[in-house]
């Protein structure tokens, strides 16, 4: 094997495709076109809850370019309804869903008809002439109201707005809470967020009746899974559905599951037997992309007389919109809240209660770091409050109460299997890196001058790379297996096709680095391709921070096989034992280092001049490996984030001065891409902590459906994110074992900010437990603390 010093694993190489993106040459779904292509525009419900009485499309059909107006009846003729079913949650209420609403709509933005025309503009023009008679119905929007038995039920045929409820508890929790020396409580509100990918959801579907093939080009995370979904919904053989995900401009879990409008476009292509393209515009994205969070949580932490942690208890009401998202459902976010609260710490007893409720807002889905920012914010705010109660510095208090490395693997009181996590290392990396003890002194000095600064620290635990047990038990057609095919080509290039998907992370390139390192060639000699359900080997795709974990293993395995084959062929050609040869930087060398021939030369001989090879030599020039992690349900992974903020107590404005992230990332394949993932994630987490929220009025109307109103942080709001990664160097004897970092940045950022703000306003006697923590909300709690109690 190559020595790690010259190995592409661990090298901060820039992505080979970066130039293509920064020069505007990316090839996104909307850049694709097809002969005879038509465009779709959706008519979406203006009401959050209403009955559709009548649809009259006759005037619309008179408009220039209008080809067809499709309603639920038309779509239902070729497309089956569906529901999210997950055998792990057998009691989940899951109403039937239709690609286009039948009779009733349950959220503002729900598709009610599709107008097909020669251009998008014509489709939108014609859509304005479709007459719809509505009977508006009262909307249920608030999570707590939805959970109440007094609230009207939104789904006909159901007697409750409760989608699902569950409880995780230790037998002694009640006794523990009774006997605790202190119980500290807080009620939290987490507002709705959405992912805001730069490239909005886009689909081009083309059905060719002559061969019965449906070809779908789509901006999505899991082409293989989609292929099966479309086949089942449209009654086609899976082998007749081809899904291609070209360049994808951000996904964040927003593009992980199936959407009614996208299924409807496939149905439209089948009905019209012509290519149909549709892209949601930004306004539509805000009312049709899945959203997330929307939790109301009551949390408790119990301490004993020595201020050791006895227990955590949380009750979460999670509002998911009208349906669990198809096909995987939306419950995982609630599960992560009740599974991961308290996860970094030692304690005995636990209770987590989850109520998932229906409401008239667009569906919640699986947005980056699913539930983890919430469990982290709950845990870390409670820990800070406990430290205050104990009169301890929150840094020392944490350090004392972390689970120790020797405890792993273990089960948490919330019944989650935790694998080894470098909690202390991550903690110290951030505390030292940010020089938090010096910041404390600065904070104290500035307080004297009336300047309110706060330091927040947050330790997070993530469950990444869910293994096959989960999907097998859930009964979902989701593959927890991934694969890599390597093809040695003339010239020595290795073409690498993976089932993982790429939407900006650089996963593809990093897998190439692993392949290059394992083979002993340079990273530039590997070309990675992905995103095509027919040409890529079959597998899952990228979600839950699994891309590099799965891809590096599959790539490593395939590369070892190909390497053996190359060395065997070289040995036969050079008439020496394969074991006496090695591949280094693209050269086949003797173990001593003496160069014999290049991989390129060998590839040329193997492809074009077989006559030079011994007669019994049939070189295998393609290698494939499949991999699924069978030993674990999840990998747990941890990190620490810290924020340093300044609060303007007169205005409620918060300025983020510094933000640091450490993460236990295992073997790091590419430190540059890793750091950028952590940074991007942290920015998204900071956005949700301070700025982002999908705001609705009580009728379920979204109030901020533009990027001028839904505030995402921009460069001026964000300091350089400081990365203090805790990496383990790769030992080139085994597979590299990276830990995914796709979600880590998001998971801890809100909590770090929330704690920093609370630290800053502590001298005012105020505290806040709402995310996003907007200036007005902050000023509100400051006012309340200042006002003398009434009476």
């Amino acid at each position: 094997m190559t020595s790690s010093a010259e190995s592409p694993i661990g090298a901060s190489l820039p992505r080979s495709r970066a130039a293509r993106f920064v020069t505007g040459k990316g090839r996104y779904t909307d850049d694709f076109t097809a002969p005879r292509m038509l465009f779709a525009a959706f008519i979406r419900s203006p009401y959050a809850h209403a009955r559709i009485l009548h649809i009259d499309a006759s005037a619309a059909m008179e408009r220039p370019g209008a080809r067809r107006v499709l309603t639920a009846k038309d779509i239902a003729a070729v497309c089956k309804p569906y529901r999210a079913v997950n055998n792990i949650f057998p009691t989940m209420n899951s109403p039937l869903q239709h690609a286009v609403a039948i009779e009733k709509v349950h959220y503002q933005g729900e598709p009610v008809a599709i107008v097909i025309a020669d251009t998008r503009a014509q489709a939108e023009d014609a859509a304005e002439h479709v007459q719809i008679d509505w009977e508006p119905l009262p909307a249920v929007t608030d999570a707590e109201a939805a959970a109440s038995s007094k609230t009207p039920v939104i789904h006909e045929g159901f007697d409750t707005n409760l989608c699902f409820q569950t409880k995780i508890e230790t037998p002694d929790i009640d006794k523990c809470l009774q006997e605790a020396a202190a119980i500290i409580e807080e009620s939290f509100i987490f507002g709705r967020h959405t992912g805001v990918p730069l490239e909005m959801r886009t689909i081009l579907a083309n059905y060719d009746a002559s061969d019965g093939i449906l070809t779908v080009t789509q901006s999505h995370q899991v082409p293989h899974e989609l292929q099966g979904i479309y086949a089942r919904q449209l009654g086609l053989a899976e082998s007749k559905v081809h899904v291609i995900c070209p360049d994808v401009g951000g996904a964040f879990g927003i593009k992980l599951q199936a959407y009614n409008d996208e299924i409807a476009i496939c149905a439209a292509a089948v009905i019209l037997q012509r290519p149909v393209k549709y892209q949601v515009d930004r306004l539509e994205a805000f009312i049709s992309d899945v959203q997330a969070r929307d939790h109301h949580v009551k949390a408790k932490i119990a301490l004993d007389a020595n201020n050791d942690i006895l227990a955590f208890a949380v009750e979460d009401i999670f509002a998911i919109g009208p349906y669990p998202q198809f096909p995987r459902s939306s419950l995982q976010e609630g599960f992560h809240v009740i599974q991961l609260t308290g996860a970094p710490y030692r304690f005995r007893d636990y209770r987590g209660v989850l109520q998932v409720v229906f409401q008239n807002k667009v569906n919640a889905g699986l947005y980056r770091a699913v539930g983890q920012p919430i469990s982290c914010a709950l845990t870390e705010r409670m820990i800070d409050m406990a430290a205050r109660h104990a009169g301890r510095d929150p840094i020392d208090f944490r350090r004392e109460h972390y689970r120790r490395e020797a405890e792993f693997p273990c089960k948490s009181p919330s019944n989650v299997a935790l694998t080894k996590m470098a909690l202390l290392q991550c903690h110290d990396a951030v505390v030292d890196g940010m020089q938090i003890r010096a910041l404390r002194k600065e904070q104290a000095a500035l307080r004297e001058r009336g300047i309110l600064r706060g330091i927040g620290i947050a330790t997070f635990v993530e469950l990444v790379n869910p293994g096959p047990n989960y999907y097998t038990n859930a009964g979902l057609a989701v593959s927890a297996q991934d694969a890599c095919t390597l093809r040695l080509e003339p010239g020595g290039t290795v073409r690498c096709r993976v089932s993982l998907s790429e939407f900006g992370q650089g996963t593809d390139f990093s897998i190439g680095q692993v392949v290059a390192a394992t083979l002993g060639i340079t990273a530039s000699a590997v070309e990675v391709e992905c995103g095509d359900s027919w040409t890529a080997p079959f597998g899952g795709g990228s979600w839950a921070s699994r891309g590099i974990m799965m891809g590096s293993e599959a790539g490593w395995r395939a590369a070892r096989t190909l390497r053996e084959s190359i060395l065997k062929t070289a040995g036969q050609l050079l008439q020496c034992p394969a074991e006496s040869l090695d591949i280094r930087a693209g050269e086949i060398v003797e173990v001593s280092g003496r160069a014999r021939m290049s991989v390129a030369e060998l590839a040329n001989i193997a492809h074009y001049r077989q006559g030079l090879l011994p007669k019994d030599c049939q070189p295998e020039l393609t290698a494939t490996s499949h991999y699924s992690p069978r030993d674990l349900d999840y990998v747990s992974s941890a990190g620490v984030q810290s924020s340093y903020v300044e609060v303007d107590a007169e205005t409620g404005f918060v300025r983020l001065l510094r933000h640091g992230v450490s993460h236990d990332s295992g073997n790091v394949i590419n430190p540059l891409l890793l750091a950028e993932q952590l940074r991007g994630g942290a920015v998204q987490g900071i956005g949700s902590a301070l700025y982002e929220e999908c705001l609705y009025d009580e009728d379920g109307q979204l109030l901020n459906g533009t990027l001028a109103d839904y505030l995402v942080p921009m460069a001026a709001e964000i300091p350089d994110i400081e990365i203090y990664d805790v990496a383990t160097p790769w030992q080139p004897t085994g597979a590299p074992k990276p830990k995914g970092v796709g979600e880590a940045g998001v998971a801890g950022a809100s909590a770090a900010i929330l704690n920093a703000i609370n630290d800053a306003i502590y001298p005012l006697g105020a505290s806040i437990a709402q995310i996003p923590c907007t200036p007005e909300r902050l000023l509100d709690v400051i006012d309340r603390a200042r006002k003398p109690p009434a009476g």
Binding site: E128, T651, Y691, L703, P713, A716, E776, L779
Partner: protein, 248 residues
């Protein structure tokens, strides 16, 4: 443009005024500075004439959105759109600019102070075009200020303040205060100005200014800020801006 894009407005005809040369340009006249309606923010920002004679505008431009917007947006477009939180219309009021409109019956001049009459509503009649803005040249001995609170850098202000005072040591003198973002149009704060004019900037005066602002402003509620919050920010802004102006 966003209105067209979102199908909020669908006019029967769209007139492109980009090639009307007489609508552009910054001209240093003896008695004023003439700015053509189609002059873009970026041109104003780079203009030495504006810096020298309309310092308020020069100070305000970095607060207007981002480079991409400033490369396209025009002073006339901003005035006619009349977004209540826009910086330039407020600066026009503070700088006592005159707005020249041309219609079928010729030209007329409207004081900037009277131009905006409501939310996205102006004195301009449907058959009139805004031709130019005439700025009186800034006299020496005044201190100019413009500042605002916005959630993110470049956002429309939740509340902003543009204006000037005469440079007279630690006493506030002849203040001209224009608030934007708070109400449905730029507001010349007469009451607050009267409360501080000729007074030393003490805590009591500051307090009086805050209270009299309640007479000047009738802030709007929106998803970005409640009326109460806007009122509060206006008071904080006034206090900070005057303190800074006096210290300069």
């Amino acid at each position: 443009m966003p209105m067209l894009n979102m199908r909020v407005s669908s006019p029967a005809a769209l007139i492109d005024i980009n090639r009307i040369e007489t609508l552009r340009g910054i001209e240093d006249r003896p008695d004023c500075v003439r700015v053509g309606a189609m002059t873009r923010y970026v041109e104003l920002q780079e203009s030495a004439v504006i810096r020298a004679h309309v310092p308020l505008l020069a100070m305000a431009l970095p607060l207007v959105a981002h480079v991409a917007i400033r490369n396209r947006g025009t002073i006339g477009g901003s005035l006619c759109l009349s977004d209540p939180a826009a910086e330039t219309p407020a600066c026009c009021v503070a700088a006592q600019a005159q707005i020249v409109l041309a219609g079928p019956s010729g030209c007329r001049t409207v004081a900037a102070e009277d131009f905006a009459i409501g939310l996205y509503e102006t004195e301009r009649q449907p058959d009139e075009i805004l031709v130019e803005v005439l700025f009186p040249k800034a006299v020496s001995g005044r201190i100019f200020f413009v500042d605002e609170f916005s959630r993110r850098k470049g956002d429309f202000a939740i509340v902003g303040l543009a204006g000037s005072i005469r440079d007279k040591g630690s006493t506030v003198n002849d203040p001209r205060l224009v608030f934007f973002g708070s109400d449905n149009r730029p507001i010349l704060a007469h009451a607050a100005a009267a409360a501080i004019d000729g007074r030393p900037w003490s805590d009591a005066v500051r307090q009086a200014a805050s209270e009299s602002l309640d007479d000047d402003l009738d802030p709007m509620d929106s998803i970005h800020a409640s009326a109460n919050y806007r009122r509060r920010l206006a008071k904080v802004l006034l206090s900070r801006v005057i303190t800074r102006a006096l210290a300069s």
